[in-house]
Point group: C2
Chain length 302, copies 2
Amino acid sequence: MLKSDFNAVLLQHRIDIESFLENYILTYTEISGNSAAIASRYSLLGGGKRIRPILLIEAAKLYGVKKSDYLSFAAAIEMIHTYSLIHDDLPAMDDDDLRRGQPSCHKKYGEATAVLAGDLLLTAAFEIMLRNISNSSALAREKIQAALLIAEAAGGRGMIAGQCLDLQLEQVKATEIILTDLQHKKTGALLSASLLAGAVLGKATEFETGLWKQLGLIWGLIFQMMDDVLDFTADAAVLGKSTGKDERDRKSTFVTVYGLSKTKELIRSEQGKALELLEILAKEQDIGFFIAFNDYLSERGN
Amino acid sequence: MLKSDFNAVLLQHRIDIESFLENYILTYTEISGNSAAIASRYSLLGGGKRIRPILLIEAAKLYGVKKSDYLSFAAAIEMIHTYSLIHDDLPAMDDDDLRRGQPSCHKKYGEATAVLAGDLLLTAAFEIMLRNISNSSALAREKIQAALLIAEAAGGRGMIAGQCLDLQLEQVKATEIILTDLQHKKTGALLSASLLAGAVLGKATEFETGLWKQLGLIWGLIFQMMDDVLDFTADAAVLGKSTGKDERDRKSTFVTVYGLSKTKELIRSEQGKALELLEILAKEQDIGFFIAFNDYLSERGN
């Protein structure tokens, strides 16, 4: 896929996702005094690469799933991602003042409202999936499975377990194994679930869903490695969030554990593994988008 | 129903719910380093009246629903209630050090872990319902409907909207109407959803679910009025949480708006309304438990 075509696809999906999210969150903000809804809207619509919903959509489209059957799930996964950022940025957690180039949710609306805004988005994510399942009988079993996969990935054996390990990292120096396990849970689980949910909605075979799951974990690692590289090298203005934070917090990252050049080498090697998985999937499907996405992961500047 | 029989029913349900919750949370705490799971367990199993799951179970039983079909939903609603208490107790929110006679979650495990413990329980609630739906084909449509009702009640148009209004109460003096709307959302929505979910699982008619919904809102009001009375009159040791807090926070409550004796009168009048609804339901069902529950609400000492 040409880079210009790839970028056009990303843009089109972003427009779809954001307009869906904007309409949905309206049903909350119209309640008077609903400060959590207003704060949710701020964080949900304040930019973002929309990587997780885009992966879900592209995986679903590959298997011929209709927009009305996948869009609620894509929106839900972005809501879960946004809630996790709002809670992660809280003073008691990562204490981040800046997110996507703007004040983080609690800096803008206060801590109590930010806690509730996160809670609102997490609950809304399940509401939106359940409403989609309830409103139509299409793919009911597949949709329940997809929602369950997303819950597992976001929950106490997935993303939240990763966040717990991450909090502990501020006290202990991580090894390679610890850091990989942490990132599989913290970032990989939800990325994997995005691909998996799309594939499951499309009734992919068990063999295929296994490959998508693997791919998501690898991409989660690459994503986190790039984050660590960017935290070390990039400008806060470009990145849209605080930089040098890991160093300030004396936090173990791929860069502090492996060094910068070894981390970049690891990114290339993980991209190679991803490509091998994609080549197996390519026997059945046209995976041009995903090959372009694999390159994009190491090219992003924020 | 005799008071001794009623108490025996409460006890039996509590045992069922707690043993189910204990087993379920084990699947999280067994992950090494999962501090959020340990903190969740602490709050989830640290006592509590288990009112919401008990109402769900009794409503479901009335319509002949099997234990394997309702217990996951009862557990889910208790997890949601517990998450809301953990987040409400946070320093940025109600700042409560004591809950059920023990240090609140963040006092025991720190603020970051308490935020994550709440997030874990909220996510686990949906996971547990979705897993039950996924594992069996019984009552699939009804279960999706019940899970959706619970999501709506817990979310940004229900409990979270109520919590937002509650935060604002610390700045403004509430009127009767504001306070009732607030409590319908903050407490009534989830109580109503407990009854509604049970009735929906049992394929109750639309007329009946309408009555259960009304009843839940009334009981939510009574419950909150009693809380306000107890905050004003009871001993912290008996209540198991801080007392006199509302006064300290200059917070509008039913007692500060109506006075103590008028609030007690209102409780009796709301109980009368509840009884009228129950009498309509009694034409179809044996509602002895619910009549005893209506009395119990104004008799509780904590």
